[in-house]
């Protein structure tokens, strides 16, 4: 597959697969695999936000983790600034992680409760030897100011902060090494509605200030529309559709994207009642034995015989708009 603007891409993921083996029995033989991510390709351009959406279990978080090499991918390549991360040795990868950071979903579980905020934010700098002593302390203060937290709180522990404040601490930690690329894995889904907007605004401000590139993983389609420049929709380990934000939301081509968008509630009873809603039948099949051919065919309202026979190509139907469906012309 030939993606456009190769030279602009900061990150290029090609045919990435992540299968988790299942072992059974006394001899612990491998009896199968969870096909969590099964051949996804996309690129992320410098300075943009690519939204990666899908329902639980679709493989969006696994994709994010496989990019950071937190899992060893089964196949494919993850090319970051021209180097394939999968081929890197442990030490080389560790150095590259300076430029690639992650913000986690759960601000309660992702901060060590026994470390002060200062130590949490300083840890990456110590690990990578980027700053020590007074310089490091100043940097921690500066980072806390950047995320709108009072630097005087640096000696406190995570439990003294609210969920939104903790997520700000996590963001400060991610920024400590001045990365160029941040994987945001559901950064706001554990937060209250009024706090979500605060954190999203902060992420946008930081992006402008430091020319950051985000992979924004989320299940909230409204928020993804707000923050992303382009959006990829995943289902059962496969990207079904990828397009510019407005293109995807205004003219979704894949039947899954159409159903997904129509299921999102709108906070407006009059607009909501006028919508045509596509209700999908049944549940997502198991990724251990995914359906043959198109992954979505078992729930697709327009599936035909050919959909069971061959897996649809992920092809570009209009410039920049990719779809994996046999039936889209």
């Amino acid at each position: 597959m030939n993606l456009q603007n190769n030279n602009e891409a900061l990150l290029k993921v090609e045919d990435l697969k992540m299968h988790f083996p299942i072992y059974r029995g006394v001899l612990q033989r491998q009896v199968g695999a969870v096909h969590a991510v099964d051949g996804v390709s996309f690129d992320v351009k410098r300075g943009e936000t690519l939204g990666l959406v899908g329902e639980s279990g679709c493989g969006k978080s696994t994709t994010g983790r496989a990019i950071l090499q937190l899992y060893k991918p089964t196949a494919g390549s993850v090319i970051f600034e021209g180097t394939d991360l999968i081929s890197l040795k442990h030490e080389e990868m560790r150095k590259t992680r300076r430029k690639i950071q992650m913000i986690f979903q759960d601000p309660y579980a992702s901060l060590n409760p026994r470390m002060t905020v200062h130590d949490i934010i300083a840890e990456p700098m110590m690990v990578h030897n980027t700053a020590i002593g007074k310089e490091m302390n100043e940097r921690v203060e500066h980072l806390l100011e950047l995320v709108n937290l009072n630097p005087a709180f640096a000696s406190r522990y995570p439990h003294e902060f609210s969920g939104g404040q903790r997520q700000r601490i996590g963001i400060a930690r991610a920024l400590a090494l001045q990365p160029s690329f941040i994987v945001c894995d559901e950064p706001i889904s554990a937060l209250d509605v009024s706090i979500q907007a605060q954190v999203v605004n902060l992420l946008e401000e930081l992006q402008e200030q430091f020319n950051l590139t985000y992979l924004f993983i989320a299940h909230d389609l409204s928020m993804v529309r707000h923050i992303s420049k382009r959006v990829a929709v995943m289902y059962l380990g496969v990207i079904m559709e990828l397009a510019d934000r407005d293109d995807l939301y205004l003219s979704p081509l894949h039947p899954y994207t159409q159903a997904l968008l129509s299921a999102v509630p709108i906070p407006d009873p009059i607009a909501d009642s006028k919508r045509r809603r596509v209700i999908l039948e049944g549940d997502v099949p198991s990724p251990v034995n995914p359906p043959s051919g198109c992954r979505f065919r078992t729930r697709c309202p327009i599936a035909e015989k050919m959909c069971a026979e061959s897996r649809p190509d992920f092809r570009e139907v209009t410039p920049g708009h990719f779809v994996a469906c046999h039936l889209v012309k």
Partner: protein, 329 residues
């Protein structure tokens, strides 16, 4: 008013904690009409769940205590009932669904057994009758092969199906009121759409009244007839669903709506964000609980707590400011 099915007046609930007494609900009054769906909206800790648990006598005591108020249900005060009496109301006349369908079901009993139990207990059906009715109920909520699936255990059902079972269980004794506490929060959007569609169908068929508790304004817009917005243990605004979304009048409601991106809207600006965070009330507020976060705050707001007052037919607001002009009403 005689047409009220459930009439709650001046409800107050407190919790004793090591840090002090938390005033979770501070004088909540509302009514539920026959055949109506009331949406109760608010963020975590606003008192929406505690209000309903208080009414149903499900507050763990100690540490919790309902200290004032009454909850009239067909002429009887639910708050004055003994445990034995209210157990006959719960499940039989008032059904409940909770957020997490996995922890609300007993993992070691079959679905059938759990469905049959209330039928035998509350209605006095025989084992055989209860089995028949349980199969009917399962097919009513759209589970295929209902008879065979009665013998399955909860882990054999998917998340969406478990929530359907919870609904079937809540409906088993044909209750007059269904109280649903965040019933779709743990589910994916396409499954949420299925469940909302199901509840709307059942409400038509069975003529139930529903109280639907949620933090999601989008869900409320799609299902409720009337909405109460809660903050700091108070109802701060109450109106018909169309009126609330067309003329949100409390600064908090306005802020909440402004901080939500919409899936059907093209916009590129920053989200409106309410600064600060929701209060934890160790004292019953003597001022407006929203004052610290309100951009229209006046001197008076720090001295007295505004009462819920009518601003138009069936639209009540607890605020002195006319948010359209920014001046005192």
């Amino acid at each position: 008013m005689p047409d009220l099915l459930l009439d709650i007046k001046g409800l107050e609930t407190q919790f004793k904690t090591p840090e002090g007494v938390v005033h979770a609900v501070n004088g909540v009054s509302f009514g539920l009409k026959e055949g109506e769906t009331l949406g109760v909206v608010g963020e975590s800790g606003c008192g929406k769940s505690v209000t309903m648990l208080s009414v149903l006598g499900l507050i763990p005591s100690p540490p919790g205590k309902v200290v004032a108020g009454e909850a009239l249900f067909s002429g009887q005060d639910l708050l004055k009932m003994t445990n034995e009496e209210i157990r006959h109301v719960r499940g039989a006349q008032i059904g409940m669904i909770f957020q997490d369908p996995m922890t609300s079901l007993n993992p070691v009993l079959t679905i059938g057994r759990q469905l049959e139990e209330p039928l035998m207990l509350h209605i006095g059906m025989t084992k055989h009758q209860a089995q028949e009715r349980a199969a009917e109920l399962l097919s009513l909520v759209g589970i295929p092969n209902a008879k065979e699936r009665l013998n399955d255990y909860p882990h054999q059902y998917s998340g969406g199906m478990r929530q359907r079972v919870m609904i079937a269980m809540a409906l088993s004794c044909s209750p007059q009121i269904l109280i649903a506490d965040e019933p779709t929060t743990a589910l994916d959007v396409t499954i949420q759409a299925q469940i909302m569609e199901l509840v709307k169908r059942l409400r038509e068929e069975l003529g139930m009244s529903i109280i639907w508790i949620t933090h999601d304004l989008g869900v409320v817009a799609g299902i409720a007839h009337r909405v109460a917005v809660m903050y700091g243990g108070y109802i701060i605004e109450e109106a018909s669903v169309n009126d609330l979304f067309a003329n949100p009048s409390h600064p908090y409601t306005l802020g909440l709506l402004g901080s939500l991106p919409r899936v059907d809207e093209v916009e590129h600006g920053r989200l409106f964000s309410i600064e600060g965070q929701p209060p934890v009330l160790y004292q019953k507020p003597t001022a407006c609980p929203f004052a610290p976060r309100c951009k229209w705050v006046m001197d008076r707001c720090w001295k007295e707590n505004p009462m819920l007052e009518s601003i138009s037919n069936e639209h009540r607001v607890a605020c002195w400011v006319d948010t359209k002009t920014g001046r005192s009403r």
